[in-house]
């Protein structure tokens, strides 16, 4: 049972900027939680504070009830996989994995057994004698993961581990890492700025912006029901339209959508797949560009005032640039003062 509890953690750097601001999170035993946000959102700083590489300015971090807030990294029950792999190039694969075990004065035979078992787990059986510089990027990342796993940490910390890999390898590795994590049931905190990674791997996603939590939810909830306009804009593709609500109708240019909220400014959020378009003699928008992705198409539309919208269509060949179209939002959300005020 390994539970991570982060309570009101704040990190202020010397210049006075808050990298992390009153952040709280509970990660359950065996859960994989993704910290997702743009660069500078504080997600890596938070992960480094859990790993002990940064000290929080205030707040506390506990693992299985033990306060580790002020413990150095070498005394924490955590294992970190770094973005750049951080393998020791003067050691071979076996020595990279055995180093931590040797520091714990484990018998040589036990070290060999453990290292071979973990190499087998990450699909690198027989690679112990190779120098790390002789490995591909994906193999190096597996070694980095194995180096953390061999010490059986209570909490596994992954700091954008696939950022330096190509798309194909990234997709394969994230499946493998998720499988290993579930097989071992290890509590994991994963930092990424790739929403695909977060959506495909996480049990829960923490969306961060400017050091604060924007939303903590299951991946499907974060996608379908973003609680703030930032989350709506950051996760997936989204049409965010600023406009005015009057007498139960949201209005922007020729676009009018029924919205049962009090009058005032609002931001309307519509996913491209929730925005239907049809050819019309009384068009509300004109087609700017049609992109055919094979499985589907994306139509870029311009409202009369120049506002650009995107619509996902099944048959992109039905549309052409300059064509007048009518738009029909199916599922919408609306935001005011950074809060969700409506969802259909």
């Amino acid at each position: 049972m390994s539970v991570l509890h982060i309570a009101e953690v704040t990190k202020t750097f010397s210049a006075g900027a808050k990298a992390v601001d009153s952040f709280s999170l509970d990660v359950a035993d065996g859960e994989l939680v993704c910290l997702l946000g743009p660069s500078g959102s504080g997600k890596s700083t938070l992960l480094r504070m859990v790993g002990g590489f940064e000290q929080p300015t205030s707040g506390s971090i506990t693992i299985d009830g033990e306060d580790v807030t002020h413990l150095p990294p070498e005394r924490r029950p955590t294992g970190m996989v770094f973005q750049s792999h951080a393998l020791w190039t003067h050691m071979n694969v076996f020595k990279n994995l055995a180093f931590g075990l040797k520091l714990r004065r484990m018998p040589a035979a036990e070290i060999r057994d453990k290292v071979e078992a973990v190499l087998d787990l990450v699909g690198l059986a027989g690679y112990g004698d190779r120098m790390t510089t002789q490995l591909s990027g994906g193999q190096q990342q597996r070694v980095a993961l194995a180096r953390s796993l061999v010490l059986e940490p209570k909490i596994l910390l992954l700091d954008e581990p696939f950022a330096s890999l190509d798309q194909h390898l990234r997709e394969r590795l994230r499946e493998e890492v998720r499988d290993i994590q579930q097989r071992l049931g290890i509590t994991t905190l994963f930092v990424t700025h790739g929403q695909d990674e977060a959506l495909s791997m996480a049990d829960r996603i923490v969306v961060m912006a400017n050091g604060k939590t924007e939303q903590i939810d299951r991946p499907d909830v974060v996608y379908r029901d973003p609680k703030t306009p930032f989350v709506a804009g950051f996760i997936g593709s989204m049409n965010l339209i600023d406009g005015e609500v009057r007498n139960g109708y949201f209005m922007r240019s020729d676009l009018t959508v029924q919205l049962q909220v009090p009058d005032g400014p609002a931001t309307l959020a519509i996913r491209p797949e929730s925005l239907d378009v049809t050819a019309s003699d009384t068009p509300k928008a004109s087609v700017h560009r049609v992109t055919d992705y094979g499985s589907h198409g994306l139509v870029d539309l311009d409202l009369a005032d120049g506002t650009r919208l995107k619509s996902m269509v099944a048959h992109p060949d039905l549309f052409r640039a300059g064509q007048g179209v009518d738009v029909f939002p199916r599922a919408i959300a609306a935001y005011r003062d950074n809060q969700q005020i409506y969802r259909s």
Binding site: G51, T78, Q83, S84, A86, G100, S148
Partner: protein
């Protein structure tokens, strides 16, 4: 292929046969200078010490000057003090410069900048001024003596004109180069490598021993090779600060040539010093070759 296309595909580094003479010309100047000013005098000195006239005036192979050097206790004492000074300086330089370089590599802020400026400062001080400052501070009736006297403490045993005089001067003189080379080596040790070591449970000493030291061993060898080469053949500081007897090879050579007026003896000493320097130089060449292999 059109003219424009030909230009477009021209590689960044042009290895065309027609351009090779220009490259060779650039290389030729330093190579010629090295041959003229280093290799030729070395060959000349070696040949003049082993191929010379005997008492009957006939030219022949003669190793008597070397036999004299290695049987003369004064010459051997001078060689010993030179080797001792070089060894002690190398150890002290490593002990002083490695912590400074480590501090500069892993520290940020204004204090680190001041420490770096102080560590590099000796590079801009000529040896003769350093020697004068040494005498004024640590010499008999120098500043330290005056200060001690002011608080009724006994006089210090000055290192001036003892084997420790050149050691102090040479260490101070070689700190900048050693720190800079070590710092360059430490620059190749990524922060995340160190963090990864701490993450698996290594403390500061274990990180230094298992992670940092193996990564900078070549830089240490290069730094020591440079320092040792300079110290072994140094002249100014041993001449001004060192004892008259035994003396380091630099002043010994000068005195043998000028005062004893024994050019063959001086050349023999130079060839022997050159031989030792070649051994040290091989360490440097080996380090560079190893780092290139990596």
């Amino acid at each position: 292929m059109s003219e424009a296309t030909k230009q477009a595909v021209r590689p960044l580094v042009d290895t065309a046969e027609s351009r090779r003479p220009i490259g060779l010309l650039f290389v030729a100047i330093p190579v010629f200078l090295v041959i003229w000013l280093v290799i030729w005098p070395a060959i000349n000195a070696i040949s003049r010490t082993v191929w010379r006239k005997d008492k009957s005036g006939e030219m022949g192979f003669d190793l008597s000057s070397y036999a004299f050097f290695f049987s003369d206790s004064y010459s051997l004492d001078n060689l010993s003090i030179t080797l001792w000074t070089t060894l002690v300086c190398a150890i002290l330089l490593l002990m002083i410069c490695l912590p400074i370089a480590l501090y500069l590599r892993f520290s940020r802020g204004r204090l680190a900048a001041y420490v770096q400026a102080l560590a590099i400062f000796p590079m801009f001080v000529p040896s003769i001024i350093l020697a004068f400052a040494f005498i004024r501070v640590l010499g008999p009736n120098g500043m330290v003596d005056i200060l001690f006297n002011a608080v009724d403490l006994p006089k210090i045993r000055t290192p001036y004109l003892t084997p420790w005089g050149p050691v102090i001067g040479l260490v101070w003189d070689n700190i900048p180069l050693t720190v800079l080379i070590l710092l360059a080596g430490l620059g190749s040790v990524a922060n995340q490598s160190i963090e990864a070591a701490r993450d698996v449970g290594a403390n500061a000493v274990q990180v230094f021993w298992h992670i940092i030291l193996p990564r900078i061993s070549n830089s240490i060898l290069v730094a020591l090779s440079f320092s040792v080469l300079g110290i072994f053949s140094s002249f100014t500081l041993p001449y001004l600060l060192g004892p008259a007897s035994p003396e380091m090879l630099g002043p010994f050579m000068q005195r043998t040539l000028r005062e004893v007026q024994d050019p063959v003896g001086a050349m023999t000493q130079a060839v022997i010093a050159f031989g030792f320097c070649i051994v040290f130089g091989l360490f440097y060449v080996r380090s560079v070759a190893r780092s290139r292999e990596k």
